[in-house]
Symmetry: D2
Subunit: 133 residues, 4 copies
């Protein structure tokens, strides 16, 4: 399990006073980028140097609470599943008290940058993902 | 079915050259706000005047394509289900050619603004939702 | 003068109940993209096909009002100045009543995509900018 | 001088491959929120408890470089000026190499939450701002 701590930013909230539902997908992607960076696969490398991309094919969120400006939060990432060409990440967003306010899931598929076609996950990324979670 | 047309904005894309996965949830919420406004329930009214809120309890997206800056797109909204206290909206995001690039779903629950508790959908909203879709 | 109409989106507001100060720069860029598109220079063309970019070297905003969710607003764009390699746009953001709530300015510089160096504005863009405003 | 470190997130970039010009105003506001929090004035307190607001009356940015996904960056905040009812913050955004890529300025005005009118800065905030920078 990978853990990433951050703080709710004002611009992530909306006029209802709490974090906008769509911004949870940003928050967990921020955590995912930190996670991938910790494995040696930061997004500058993936986008500008690698020969593969990792596209998101599905995303979902279940909301059980809310978050206000300046709240200290924690995102926990788990590797729910890993296959030949894809993997599934599960996220739990915890408020300061440690209560879960949102659980999310993203399905990632490796594609070849040139052809745009599905391809096996790079072996090194696969190994690092399994080792890290 | 409610239809809303818009254009992809540069700030909705990311360095991969296409719309960021999380921004589809913004795009369909923009469409949802226009839809609710067309029913007489705009978000200024809901947030600043009404005695109820309509919270999103679940959201999901299935991605089958991508969108580039300046693409003209269409969002189609359907009422997938309506209950006593909640309703489910389905969205289809179409590119200029009319091909679906993303299908989304959001589950909305009416809550009382004071107590924060679930409550029946306001009868007028319920009737308008059913009539409009 | 180019005019672009839109509506305030919930995700552009923050927990203070009004549009987040930084989002005015998004709103006027949305208007600018529509303006450039109307001149035959949409951002998909500029980013993915043209041999030049138009970078923003300076941006500023003076706030005199505020905007709430669902407000219908108008952005007016004027060409404040045009030189050999650069131009300056001025924006006025008007609320439903027609009152100015924010005035902004952006300074744009043409650069060569390969070298990254300043270059003269493409003649066709220059002519269209002058003709349109 | 207050210093705040962060990393460029993918959703802050756009299809040109670098951080969208308007997102620098988000980044420095994130730093400003951390700064205010360090002084005991976090935005949850200001928005939901205090009797004053600190509105932004002017903002500007001068861009001299660019930022790519995953870059580690630093924001330095200086108190450029402080008056009876307002203060001016200056920001320098530095890339990993320590080079400035953007300098920004924001002008903040204290207002009374009820009347919406200008008011003197709360004495405690004033003292903390001066002491911290």
């Amino acid at each position: 399990m990978y853990t990433w701590d951050t703080t709710v930013k004002l611009h992530q909230t909306d006029a209802a006073g709490i974090v906008f539902y769509g911004n949870y997908f940003r928050i967990v992607h921020d955590a995912y980028e930190a996670f991938m960076g910790s494995l040696g696969f930061d997004f500058n490398y993936i986008i500008n140097e690698a020969d593969f991309l990792v596209l998101i094919a599905h995303a979902e969120a279940d909301y059980s609470g809310s978050l206000r400006p300046s709240e200290k939060i924690r995102v926990q990432i788990a590797l729910d599943k890993i296959g030949t060409t894809s993997f599934v990440l599960g996220y739990d967003v915890l408020n300061t008290a440690g209560d879960s306010v949102c659980r999310l899931k993203t399905v990632h598929v490796a594609t070849d940058k040139k052809s745009g076609r599905k391809r096996p996950l790079p072996e090194k990324l696969r190994a690092k993902l399994v080792a890290a979670t």
